[in-house]
Point group: C2
Chain length 350, copies 2
Amino acid sequence: MSLPQPSERAFVPFVSVAAMMKLIHQVGLDRMLRDLADYIEDDFRRWPLFDKTPRVASHSTDGVIELMPTSDGALYSFKYVNGHPKNMRDGLQTVTAFGLLADVATGYPMLLSEMTLLTALRTAAMSAMAARHLAPQDATTMAMIGNGAQSEFQCLAFRAICGIHTVRLYDVDPAATAKAMANLRDQGLTLIPCKTPEEAMEGAQIVTTCTADKQFATILTDNMIGSGIHINAIGGDCPGKTELHRDILLRSDIFVEFPPQTRVEGEIQQLDDDHPVTELWQVIAGTAPGRTAPAQITLFDSVGFAIEDFSALRYIRDRLEETGLYQQLDLLADPDDPRDLFGMLQRARP
Amino acid sequence: MSLPQPSERAFVPFVSVAAMMKLIHQVGLDRMLRDLADYIEDDFRRWPLFDKTPRVASHSTDGVIELMPTSDGALYSFKYVNGHPKNMRDGLQTVTAFGLLADVATGYPMLLSEMTLLTALRTAAMSAMAARHLAPQDATTMAMIGNGAQSEFQCLAFRAICGIHTVRLYDVDPAATAKAMANLRDQGLTLIPCKTPEEAMEGAQIVTTCTADKQFATILTDNMIGSGIHINAIGGDCPGKTELHRDILLRSDIFVEFPPQTRVEGEIQQLDDDHPVTELWQVIAGTAPGRTAPAQITLFDSVGFAIEDFSALRYIRDRLEETGLYQQLDLLADPDDPRDLFGMLQRARP
C-alpha cells in the first residue's frame, strides 16, 4: 500500500524481536545481563520515587493478561504480558510481552519494544542481582528446577553476576532438561542433569524454581531445604500458583519486590497477611539487612515488578543511538496545528 | 539493518496513522462514524459481560497517562492515552493514543493500532449514539462549545447519526472557531460562528462542551440551560477538570458510562457520591428510561470508557482483511519449540 508520509514527530522507535536478538548479540548476552542487573539495582535504590501499583490483571480460565505500569516522575513505562501455561501444548509461548517507554512531561511514547526476550533477560538479571545481596558469598552451585524457556537465562545470569559455575538441572520432562543442556553447552558451566529434585539439590547453595503450572504445587518440600540455602522462587507468580511447601516459608527470611503485589501473587499468598517480609530495595539501599548468618535460609519470593521492566526499557532506550537497531513506527498523529487533527485527515484524502 | 526473518506467528497487524487515514477515507467518514456508533451500541447492550475497571491513571503536574483495559471474555483490549492540555503550546497533541486487541484464550495480541484518530472518531460516535437515546427527537441545532481537535468529529457525528443540520460554534480563541469553520465547510452543515457561549446556545436543542483546561471551569452556567436541552459534556474527564456549573447538574437527569469512573472523573465529581445517575447501557438495553419528557434536561456526563475503545478496535480488526491497510509487525518471539526461547536467540547469532 502507498501511504501519505507522516512528520518526524509522528514516529516512535520500535525494537522488533529480530532487532532485539541482534542487539543482544551485539552487546553480548553476559554484558547485557550484568548491565540490566545494574540498571535494575539503580532503580531499586531510588524505589520511593516511583509510582507503584500492583499490576492490572485480566484473568481467564486458561491464563492472564496483565498491564504493568510505573513511573519515576520523568519517564513512564508499562508492559503488556500474558501468562498462559496451556499455550505450550499448541506450540505457543507461555509468556509473550511488549512494552512502552514514554515522556511524562508530554505523554508522548518514546520507545515501543518487544519484551518476550527482554523479560527473560530482565527476570534472570533481577534474580541474580537479588542473589548478589542474599545468597552465600561463596556459592558455586545452583539447582535449576524447571528447565523451560526461562531456565537458560537464569543459569547464565547467575554465572555472569554471581560466579556460579555448576548447574544441576531437573524438570518433570527430561526433554526440557536435554534442551537446556544442549543450549548451555560451551557456556563455561558444568552441567549435571538430575532425575529428581532431591538429586538436583545435592551440594547446591542456591536453588531456582521456575515451573509454569497454574496451580498450588509443591516443587520443593521442607526436607529438601538445608541450612544456608538461598531460594530464588520465580515460578509462583499469580493467585493460586505457588511452588514451595508452606513449611519452607516459615523457616526462611523472605525478601520481596512490592509487598501488596507479592502477598496476592507470590509464595507468601500461603501465609498470613502480616507475616514479616523485607522489601529488597531496602537491602539494596542499606536500610534493611540481607543475609546475616551462614545458616540462614533466604528466600527471594519474586513475582516480577513493573520497575524491573522500566529499568529494562530504559536500558534499551540508552542503546538505540549507538546500535541503530530499531525502526520508526508511524504511531502518533501529528498535525502541524495540534488542534487541527481533522484538517490533517482531510488533507490525506486520496 | 538486515535482520533474521521471524515466523508467521511472530507478526501482529499494525495500523499506522497513515493507514488509519486511508481506512477512514476508503470506508467514508460518515459510514465509519455510524458503524462505530453501532459497534459501541452492540457492546453496551451486552455490558454485564465485560470486565470493567476504572482506567489506570498516572498523574503528573502537566497531565495524565492512562491505560484503559477491558475484556468480554473472548477478546481483550487496552488503550494507552495521554492528556496534556499544555502540549498544544509546544505544537504537540493534547491527546495521543494507541491500542491493542488480544485473544483471551492465548493472550496473543491480534491488532496494534494508532488510536489518536480512532479515539476522535469513537468519542464522536459515542456522543451521538448517546444523543440518539437522550436528545429531543426533533433536534436540528447543536451548540459546539470548544472548537479544538475533537470538535469537527463531534459535529459530523451528530449530523450523520442524529440528523443535526446547524452548528453554532464558540471558542475562547476565535482562531479555533475559524479553523473548525474552514474544516467543516462543504460538509452539508449550516455553520454559525458565535462570540459568546450564550449566543451559541440560541435555538440549540443539543449543546456539546469540549474544552481542554485541566481545572474546575464553568463553561456553562445555570441560566444558559433552558428546558428540553440535551447536554453532551465530554471535556470534563479527569479529577479536578469539569465544565458545568453544579446547579446545572442538579436540574438534569444524568446519564453516565461507568459510575465508579465517572464519579471520580466526570462532572458529577461536584456532587455527592450517592447522587442518582443512570447507566447509559441500561437505556440501550431497555431496562432504564432515557428521555421521558420534552422539558427534561438530559446530561450525558461522558468521560470515555474502555468498552468504547474495545468496540473501535473490534471494528478496525473486522476491516483489516477487506482493506489490507496494515503492516505486519514483528512483535512476538515465536520459537519453533515454545520452551526454546534461548535456542531461537542462539540461532540468530550473526
